[in-house]
Subunit: 344 residues, 4 copies
């Protein structure tokens, strides 16, 4: 069995990794760390995981004592800046790394530094790392030692624009991503703005002045377009637990393209990207608790309009990380990721 380490196991991406990996047939969770919960049984912090044999004897251990070099793969479900400091020791020990934070997402360390207000600790490792969007970089991921797992918004927006940019159908200088996220996207932390009476029965925008996912999305779209792009990205907060809904707009440069076919062909072999039949609209619950993305595309006058849904904690985080792990380990890509969405 492949031995797994999870650093920072008490956030939402951490507990989702736990849930997915505990039910994965080919791996074993060897070590999970949490400074705050060190010494505590995993099932004491997350009673929902009780009755899972694979987790029944697992406790959080302090980060400093964690035998991570004994693992085959280590996931970082930590704040930004942690993985890059541990990366060299682990890769030197032959451990593969999947970072769910931003340390290995932005190729240009100066861009990282500008947005995350810290110097990059290992630009050389960043240079060899792979941005883990499997639908676009499957072969590189298979050979990677370090994967930067994409952010939740970037996953949805890039998968939505990719068929259009690939086919050269839109004006890449005028793209709009109007995005909506459930509250779990803000993380598992006691912040006033996230409590039920503040976030419930309410809808708001945030990050209009600049959101850290903006350079990440832009970087991806730029590579797809092969040119500088113009993106307006507006994130909003929705009173729901999970789910991202991305409403994308861009001016069409070819008015007669069959957008539906373009999308269907682009994703014909992608298990996790489901192009809905023409005219159907997606909703976030149709992917709740699953690694699926569902996409609709419409011509709206002179605009292409793409609607994308994903579960921000699964395809937008922990599920995609497991998908990357499967690729890195040479396992079938869907292993452990085929559980059907939970509706209602």
């Amino acid at each position: 069995m492949t031995q797994i380490g999870i650093v920072g196991g008490t956030g939402y991406t951490g507990v989702e990794l736990l849930r997915l990996l505990a039910q994965h047939p080919d791996v074993e969770i060897h070590t999970i760390t949490s400074r705050q919960e060190a010494g505590i049984a995993v099932t004491d912090v997350f009673p929902s995981l009780r009755r899972c044999a694979a987790l029944s004897r697992l406790s959080f251990c302090a980060p400093d004592d964690a035998p991570l070099t004994e693992c085959d793969v280590v996931f970082f479900a930590t704040p930004h800046g942690v993985a890059m400091k541990e990366a060299r020791k682990l890769t030197d020990a032959g451990v593969k790394i999947i970072d769910l934070a931003a340390d290995f997402r932005l190729r240009d360390p100066t861009v990282f530094e500008r947005w995350y207000k810290m110097p990059h600790a290992c630009p050389d490792l960043l240079a060899e790392s792979v941005y883990g969007l499997p639908e676009l970089a499957r072969e590189q991921i298979k050979k990677a030692r370090i994967v930067g797992n994409p952010g939740c918004y970037p996953t949805a927006v890039q998968l939505g624009f990719w068929p259009l940019l690939k086919a050269g159908l839109i004006d890449a200088s005028q793209m709009i991503a109007d995005c909506k996220s459930g509250v779990s996207g803000a993380g598992r932390k006691g912040e006033l703005s996230l409590i039920y009476p503040e976030a419930g029965d309410n809808f708001s925008a945030y990050g209009v002045a600049g959101h850290r996912h903006h350079p990440e999305i832009e970087q991806g779209l730029q590579e797809m377009a092969g040119q500088k792009v113009g993106l307006t990205f507006t994130p909003h907060l929705v009173p729901m637990i999970r789910g991202i809904f991305a409403t994308l707009y861009a001016p069409l440069t070819k008015q007669d393209a069959d957008l539906q076919s373009v999308f269907e062909e682009c994703y014909a072999n992608e298990f996790f990207v489901d192009v809905l039949p023409a005219g159907r609209l997606p909703d976030t619950r149709s992917v709740r608790a699953s690694n699926q993305v569902r996409i609709s595309v419409f011509r709206r006058g002179a605009l292409a309009n793409v609607l994308v849904v994903e579960d921000n904690l699964i395809k937008g985080a922990a599920g995609q990380a497991v998908q990357n792990m499967n690729l890195m380990l040479g396992l079938p890509e869907t292993t452990g990721l085929t559980a059907l969405p939970i509706v209602p």
Copy 2:
């Protein structure tokens, strides 16, 4: 006391009219109709209105028996197509009409017919009626016999684009309105898609193929722009009870305009339109249960980006109807409409 009639009093706009008018100092609810609840006390259907002296003896009466011609003002909180059939009798009797449905919103009867699948019953009355957006048509409303009360989305979108179109700052051929509404916007009716397990913890788009508010918004924007406009309007359903959030985008034609000043000046004398200080973002709860609109404006690269919030049942329906009534009766415009929003 001015005598008020409400036709169709059991929907959400009906009960909000009841609530607002029962607390209005200058009017008295004379008659309220409901085919289904005829003979039943208003407080039996809406226990929240118990202990309101003004409503304690009021019962629903059947539409056919309703002494509406005894009223000074009659509100129609009915499905589309009802008000236009009753309008002549009432105006002939000197009764003023405020229709919260669509019968008097679209100036062109053929457009009405195309979207509502019924011929217009009184094109002559339609011609003299006024579209009741007070911030744009205050003086006409004061003199009107019939007011078509704007739809919820149209109110938010028009108030958001107005300062930009008035000042000639955007390309009116490429406007986008990405709108989000609470579930009460769909009305008080037992539809499967609206029940809690379907609409809760979920986010979806709808009406992409065409929404009835589209021609209404377009008509308004066209008058503002003085030319044919291009609008892409995408409504979404949010798991919350009340509130509309409109995120508007349009290409700027003048890059150096001071958008904040443009908005502040445009709405300087409008009590119900609150332009937030530069950099602040609105949320729907900040207007919950009030007649307020709050607006933010941002330059986003080459785009203008306007964020508008309103309570869809108040400024988007019943509150605006009362605002119109105040104007038609020569009362101070804010009478009965100054209750502060309910937060949390």
Copy 3:
């Protein structure tokens, strides 16, 4: 592979059966009926089930044409009164039946008749049928041809009181079950009282004058107690999608019993009933989308106080039905039912 029929597949218990059985390793869904959706692909009605190979070619068929006698097991996820009419034909054909409605829950046909306002169609089959609460009737279920699957509230309340009644620790004449259910418990139907603006941000009681689960619970408690019992049962509606929380009270007849040990011993070998460590309190999300029940017990002065949570659609309906099927087919009881709860 065991061939499965589902009658009435478009309600919430139906779609949960579909989801669970599609992922069950030992069965194949042969036939699913729906009068309303006949001819429509299952994945057209439930897009969340797209990308499930086992369901990709399955369409709803009209009840009258359904080849149910070709199945090994048929589930009825129908309104009350359907299963009992089909039961004889199916059992004659050697088909096992699991009814998720009430037709085979109440042993006394006159009680059934009183609460469900219809005569029982097959009292003889009712007599041989087994009430499918596996933790109490495992051996009978294994041999049953017809299982009446318990209601959601009855499952929680009976499992909560069972250790106390078994050990003779409470006064069975003064039991109180104060129960709270998510809205999906009311079924997948377009009823006004269930829509988001009515059920959201609201808490209410219902069925105080008499709820159909009352005689079912009472029957179970009576058998446990071996005597007539007194039960006050108050159901409440919670603004959440899934989950039942039962808060149970009963006067202790022995003040010095170690309640925690009594519960732990009673359920020591029950995979699906998890007695929490002393002092811990359950919450419904800790069992969301799983077949788990979690229980806490407290001495509160002279009262025993038991707190029980379950997912009303899983352990309270479809999951328990699959658990019963496993028993009837001689499969390991937990097959297909070990997916971990979804948190957050």
Copy 4:
């Protein structure tokens, strides 16, 4: 105009006090304090209060600089332990005090000390203070210098049991209060357990081992009963913003009492306590954002069963505080408190 001070104005009870008092015809908010927001305009912290003339020039001031002795009435919307330290200075200056925390709720300082882990700072002032439940202590409140405003649960539970205890109809040694509260009851603070993904779509119990409202409720019931009482109090957390629902049970000692009449007579002259018609059930939204309490009573076999709803922030906190203020100032009791509930 009566001059008002509010100490601790940034919690939910604080902002509700602001909202209610800003719309009260007979008072003026003179001073509002907040250590954290000192110097900031009230409308910057609570944008929902923008466009309120009465608040437009009001800023928070630091507690130490606050000219509270210039006020006629000071409300404490602070954590427990603050009001009792300021009370002497204020009363000496002739200022009336209404404390929304617990400092003046428990008559016995040793009980206060046991539950709140601090000695009482002014037992003599506690002795003269009045527990501010107007329906039970109207005359004393009118003459009080210091009022301890009841807790949210205690208000609902006491008003629910009062008619039964007054009439001597129940066994006071076996009372059960199964209570459910919206999340705002926990206060406006960034705690992990309160964030949307934790508290949303979830139902839980808490405080089973002991809740601070228990001694407060017990004290009130004891005075009503004129004897020691037995109360089992179980609070639960509901995924909604506002509202308390109390489900009360107690054994009837007289089986033939007409409970409905008992309740109707008891509250015949109470504007804020609405006994529903026989058979009707209350829901929390029917009192949302209002100072109303609604009550139903049922005979359930040998038990009395009372259902009580209130808005925890209004009748359970800020509204009741204003009701007390009205009494203390000799104003009509309902002044500023008659706004109708917000539904939906």
